[in-house]
Structures are given as structure tokens and as C-alpha cells.
Symmetry: C2
Subunit: 122 residues, 2 copies
DNA sequence: CTGTATCCTAAGGGATACTG
DNA sequence: CAGTATCCCTTAGGATACAG
């Protein structure tokens, strides 16, 4: 048995734990964007297409709790908040890069092409 | 825009595609077990603790459709079926190993210990 | 021993509206 | 600008029963 418990839940393999930290639809895209360095909320939003406020905030909070990112609040107005990677977060980037590479390979294998912006069909 | 479509669904990054192939609770454990070589259904079941028949079968079917594993049926009785990795599946092992390593690191960082079998508390 | 089908619940995630 | 809350729906995944 290699079971272990984290936050009251049972995990059966380290892989599962990894997915608890960086899994889901949005955590990886967020982490990847933050590799650029400190970013404030609006910048994050602009760099992650299609994400909703709810998802961005909830995922930021989770990543924070798990020690992947940090938040720095500036006492200014209008309010300013920066998000940036912790050492653990930076470490995860390498893992995500691996997943990204494999994904690109899958695209080739399956003959997938990036959606080109359709020209007006006149 | 780096969007692309696969099986009628829109993906926004290669990472998402990767997760479609090896994501979920059980696909990675299954692939990892198959690194040992050909295995029949019963052997798979025995080597993946806590998995239910429904999940094992459904995930095997999905992995097959995606070209990660193959099925070989022997005309015997009782029936015998072998499952084994395709080249693509073998390639995924390296990725999963990366995730596994990171998970082990997370366990250390979070001070998680493997659940020891409790001794009878007499 | 291999393989499906049905029922049901918990959780992830989208849309939308609202506040300091 | 940054940050929450509520409603709702889809889906992964568990339990169980059944079939060649």
C-alpha cells in the first residue's frame, strides 16, 4: 500500500497528488503565464483567453493555499495586487512544460491544426 | 489564438489535449502498470488498488481509442485478453514519470507519510 | 474470466450580478 | 480594479447487477 492522506482525502499515488496541485482546466495555464514574472489580476485575465472571473479567482486562491503562488497587495488606489510564483511554483513549470511538449506531439500524431481565423467567405 | 479542435471539442492549449489523453483519476495508474509489459484484465485489476470494473473498462476503452494501448484477444476458454502499450503509450510513460516525481516532491514538502498499516491496538 | 448497463451523487466549471 | 456570491448544468466516477 502506498496510500496517503492529504487534506482529509486519500490518495493512491503521487501522480494523484500532483493533479490535485496542478490539475483541472485552469491551474496550468495560470502557472504558465506567471512564468513571465509578477503579474497583476488584470494582466492575468488578459493573458488567459476564455477564463471567467470566478475560475481565475478560485484557482488563484487554491494555488495560493497550496504554496504554488503568492499574492502581494499594494496599499494604493486604485487597488493593486501582484501574483507571482513561489519556488515550488517555479518547479512545477518544468513539469507543465513536459505536458505541453507531449500535447504538441499528440497534435502532430493526430493531425490537428491550429484553428486559422476564417477569412470572410465572400 | 492557439485554439484547435479535437473530437468536436475546442482546446485552448496543448496541455489540455494531454489531459484529455492521460487525465482523470485512473488513466495514468493504468498506463504505469502496463509499463511492465502485456497484462490481462485480471492482472490489471489486481495491480491497481481500489479501481472498479466500470472505471477499468471504460478507461481501457478510451485509452484504446486514443491509441495509447492495444488489445489482443485470444480465442480460448476461459476467455483471455491482453492489454499492452503502443509506442505512443510508451512515450507517455516518461511524462507520467515526471508527474510522479513531482508528486513525491510534493509529499516531502507537505510532510506527507505513507499510511502505515495500523497494528492491532491491543 | 471478460465485458456492459443503469442509477446516482459530488464536484468542476460557466454565466451573471454585485461590492469596496 | 480587485474580489465574492448564487444559480445551474454537465460529467467523472462509485455501487451494483447482469451476460457471454
Amino acid at each position: 500500500m502506498k496510500d496517503f492522506t492529504y487534506n482529509g482525502r486519500i490518495y493512491y499515488s503521487p501522480v494523484e497528488l500532483t493533479m490535485a496541485f496542478i490539475g483541472g482546466t485552469w491551474k496550468m495555464p495560470i502557472l504558465l503565464v506567471l512564468r513571465k514574472g509578477k503579474l497583476r489580476y488584470g494582466e492575468l485575465k488578459n493573458n488567459i483567453p476564455h477564463i471567467t472571473d470566478k475560475m481565475l479567482y478560485s484557482q488563484l486562491r487554491e494555488l495560493e493555499k497550496k504554496g504554488m503562488i503568492e499574492r502581494k497587495v499594494y496599499k494604493e488606489k486604485p487597488p493593486r495586487v501582484d501574483y507571482f510564483l513561489t519556488p515550488l511554483g517555479k518547479r512545477s513549470i518544468k513539469v507543465i512544460d513536459t505536458l505541453n511538449k507531449f500535447g504538441e506531439h499528440l497534435m502532430v500524431v493526430n493531425g490537428l491544426m491550429v484553428n486559422n481565423r476564417k477569412r470572410p467567405q465572400n
